[in-house]
Point group: C3
Chain length 159, copies 3
Amino acid sequence: MQLEAVARRLELEQLYTDYVHCLDADELERWPDFFTEDCFYRVTSAENYQAGLPLGLIYATSRNMLKDRVSALREANIYEPQRYRHLVSSLKITADAAGVLDLVANFMVVRTMQDGDMVIFGAGCYVDQVRRDGDSWKFARKNVVLDSRQIDTLLAIPI
Amino acid sequence: MQLEAVARRLELEQLYTDYVHCLDADELERWPDFFTEDCFYRVTSAENYQAGLPLGLIYATSRNMLKDRVSALREANIYEPQRYRHLVSSLKITADAAGVLDLVANFMVVRTMQDGDMVIFGAGCYVDQVRRDGDSWKFARKNVVLDSRQIDTLLAIPI
Amino acid sequence: MQLEAVARRLELEQLYTDYVHCLDADELERWPDFFTEDCFYRVTSAENYQAGLPLGLIYATSRNMLKDRVSALREANIYEPQRYRHLVSSLKITADAAGVLDLVANFMVVRTMQDGDMVIFGAGCYVDQVRRDGDSWKFARKNVVLDSRQIDTLLAIPI
């Protein structure tokens, strides 16, 4: 393994690290910046994903749609105060074609409500594609594939 | 730290990454390939492990026994549909003798049932030994040491 | 990225790895050695941390205070047998000034009681500062910032 490959690997881990710290700190206004302008983002279930069903419960086909989503969230602001904590592991490069990389990674999100109640909010894997953007990487595609089908309560926030 | 040591470290992390993606994708037929032919594999409790008790609730002393186990699982197939998600962290090399490495790593497994119910299925640590096999590594020994003693429901699937 | 930066990154990850294995193995006597002599350590809630409140539910301003804490824990020894398992991810260097590094990392702790009951004991982030100490790193400051305010039951053990 060359130093370049090692450095790229650490850059990719850093991308996921920055991504989850952004979400966990509720800095959602920065969230669209992790994506390319023509990005594809969705939250779906493993069942739908494996069946090849194109839609998800959250679905966007551009960075602007992600910005709109954040604006809507901030304006509505109806949800109970809560904190999210992402744990990510097992990042893997599954394809590498001309600097466009396919990646998978496992995640788990713990939600803590104001009364201290903690639950596993969601578990699953990211099935993503990233592209070089200057000296960093951006998500061109992000599929948040949840192990559970019960994702109606997930509508509120990005994962 | 030399580049060689860095590269080896990333290879070992990749081994655990590939291992858990294999299990989480329910590609159990590939699971025995992560082990040497004369491997030792068991699932046991921390209590039994610390007491030096040799047996575990799942126990195998060769790759062929692991293959048999997968065949039995596929034939029986009595368990309710469910998904597993492994999170792994804190991989550490604890011994290095002539290319045979002792490793520990923490893990947690979240199980999602078909109705969407999510529970922590198990938490604990892997206490493993790996050997070089061509350009990759294989598990010569894998002790899945669960923090809980209540592991009867764990009989079904590999961890 | 230079080899030096890569090596340092892996050293830092190793620090957190060693730290959590020490706690999970209940080797608390070694725990103060992860800190500088004049360290600052506390466990607090995200709410208090963001409000800039200085105190926490566990609070120490030197390595000796950490040692006293471990002694007190061992003497009291009133708590029910239990095991802790830390999962850590998303380590990030947030500042680097003359070899003193600010770091954040996400964590989750699963607690397993003797009867096998498993719960998420705590989730949150470490907000730390580390300093070089010979060929390793030590924590000069460690803020254990819990997402939950309900941390009374956390008084017993270090996180």
